[in-house]
């Protein structure tokens, strides 16, 4: 599904990622953990080329999604981002109605007529387990929702354009515990249909939601394995130290 080969990444002269090789399978949840500044978010943003928006950055190596090198010149970035959705750390609904937020991706990509969009909005909100809370106020501003609801709206917004992969960059770090557990439940459900990659600072969260975990430190992928294995019996001492809270 996703495969990276010898990825190096630079912010100016600073090398943020060093020779990363990884394979992520379809319909799994993969968690990236590691101390702040270890490169895990940078690595995540490679998969939908969001790093392109940052000035003075450079990547070497290959990043292959569904058999295609997404850094090849022939790749249409808008199409890629439709296929690889993203949810951000801070909920960022547009200052539009709830309906318009979910419909946004469909409209900018010219996906279907009004009936199709209305139907798709409803399905997406249902998939994001938000429908029951908002079905009576679809025309109200998304900014009136609570933080947790906003984040689920952002997930619904990402689901609407029918991606196959969803990237989540610390999706629950700005939320309260109840909202967090809702997001985690949602990740469990979404796994049936989507490939999910999640960056998290919260190790319990990584242990709870993911099948596979990658531990990053100083731009290197230190250990990448089955989540159980990583948390119960890691091969690497640094991983052991990190998950037991001895640093980071």
């Amino acid at each position: 599904m996703i495969e990276t080969k010898n990825i190096d990444f630079y912010y100016g002269n600073f090398q943020a990622l060093k020779n990363i090789n990884m394979k992520i399978g379809a319909n799994t949840v993969t968690a990236f953990i590691g101390p702040s500044g270890c490169g895990k978010s940078t690595f995540l943003r490679l998969f939908n080329r969001m790093n392109d928006l940052i000035d003075d950055t450079r990547m070497e190596g290959q990043c292959i999604v569904d058999g295609k090198d997404i850094y090849n010149k022939s790749i249409n970035i808008d199409e890629l981002r439709k296929k690889v959705g993203m949810v951000f750390q801070k909920p960022n609904p547009f200052p539009k109605s709830i309906f318009e937020n979910v419909a946004y991706g469909l409209k900018v990509n010219n996906m279907g007529d009004r009936r199709f969009i209305a139907q798709r909005v409803e399905e997406s909100l249902k998939s994001a387990v938000l429908w029951d809370e908002v079905k009576d106020k679809l025309n109200k501003s998304a900014l009136e929702l609570s933080g947790g609801q906003q984040q689920r709206l952002c997930i619904a917004r990402a689901l609407a354009v029918a991606p196959s992969i969803i990237l989540m960059d610390e999706p629950a770090s700005a939320l309260d515990p109840i909202s967090t557990s809702k997001i985690e439940e949602l990740i469990h459900q979404l796994k049936q249909q989507y490939t999910i990659v999640i960056v998290t600072h919260n190790m319990q969260q990584a242990a709870r939601v993911s099948d596979t975990t990658g531990f990053f430190m100083l731009g290197e992928l230190i250990e990448y394995n089955n989540t159980k294995k990583i948390f119960l019996n890691p091969d690497n001492e640094a991983t052991q130290n990190y998950i037991t809270g001895r640093f980071g």
Partner: protein, 284 residues
């Protein structure tokens, strides 16, 4: 002296100076209202000047000022907004953006009389528009351009980056992102900039002195190549150039009052509109 007394003294001094500003404003307004209110009535607003401008009204000057406001905004608003979109959304932080910003600031600091001179030589003479609404509007447009660019840039900067990245992440192009998310979000603030420039345009005299304004016209302009009367210039004429200065003094105060009230109404309209737009945004 104890620290506390020091605090109180400092606070009092700052407060006095703060209030002083308000006092100055009210002093000027009070003076104009007191002297002008006597002549302002329906006839004053709706008729032409009479008897060598010592009686009658200022109708053509009011109309002329509105023409100049609208004319200048037609030029300056699209140009300014598009320029700000370029510098803020497209150009990144390259040298060309820095250059454009410095030049915009320089443009803003050019004295308005110089704009008048430039407008005269380019629009009136070179392009042969003559003393006209067109030439005056273009000159005033140039004058307000930096203001519109700067307020639009501020408005665009105030749009959270999360909106942009969120839009890109859904496969939207840059243009779609600007059109569908950035501009609608920034719109209330952009409108504020527009209104500020209306205030500026309606009060400027120097730029229209050589490009558009007429001493006296017996009828309203019939096209964009006609001269117009305008409130600030009319005020200048009444105060310094009339046939009988003593007799036209009350007319001058009346004109000043009308000018101030127009600017005030425009500003109030702006804050009302802005409040409404922001409320709409929350409710839709």
């Amino acid at each position: 002296m104890s620290k506390k007394v020091n605090q109180i003294i400092a606070f009092t001094i700052f407060r006095i100076f703060g209030l002083l500003v308000v006092a100055i404003l009210f002093g000027i307004l009070g003076f104009i209202v007191f002297n002008g209110i006597k002549v302002v009535n329906w006839e004053f607003l709706t008729t032409f000047p009479k008897d060598g401008m010592t009686s009658g009204g200022i109708f053509p000057a009011i109309v002329g000022t509105f023409y100049l406001i609208i004319g200048s905004l037609i030029f300056a608003f699209p140009l300014g907004v598009m320029s700000a979109i370029y510098t803020n959304e497209y150009a990144g932080n390259s040298w060309i953006v820095k250059f454009i910003r410095i030049m915009t600031n320089n443009l803003a600091s050019i004295p308005s009389i110089v704009f008048g001179l430039f407008g005269m030589s380019l629009f009136v003479n070179k392009l042969n528009f003559g003393d006209s609404i067109l030439a005056g509007s273009l000159t005033l447009g140039l004058l307000t351009l930096p203001l519109i660019i700067r307020t639009t840039e501020e408005a665009l900067k105030a749009v959270p980056d999360g909106y942009r990245t969120g839009s890109y992440a859904l496969g939207a192009t840059k243009l779609q992102t600007i059109k569908r998310v950035v501009l609608p979000t920034a719109f209330p603030n952009i409108i504020t900039g527009l209104i500020l420039s209306v205030g500026r345009v309606s009060g400027e005299t120097a730029p229209i002195l050589f490009t558009a304004a007429a001493y006296f016209l017996p009828k309203l302009p019939s096209g964009i190549f006609d001269q117009v009367m305008a409130l600030p210039y009319h005020l200048y004429v009444l105060a310094t150039n009339g046939t009988d200065l003593e007799a036209s003094r009350p007319m001058a105060y009346g004109t000043a009052l009308v000018l101030i009230v127009i600017v005030l109404i425009v500003n109030l309209l702006a804050s009302f509109l802005r409040g409404k737009l922001e409320k709409n945004k929350k409710n839709t």
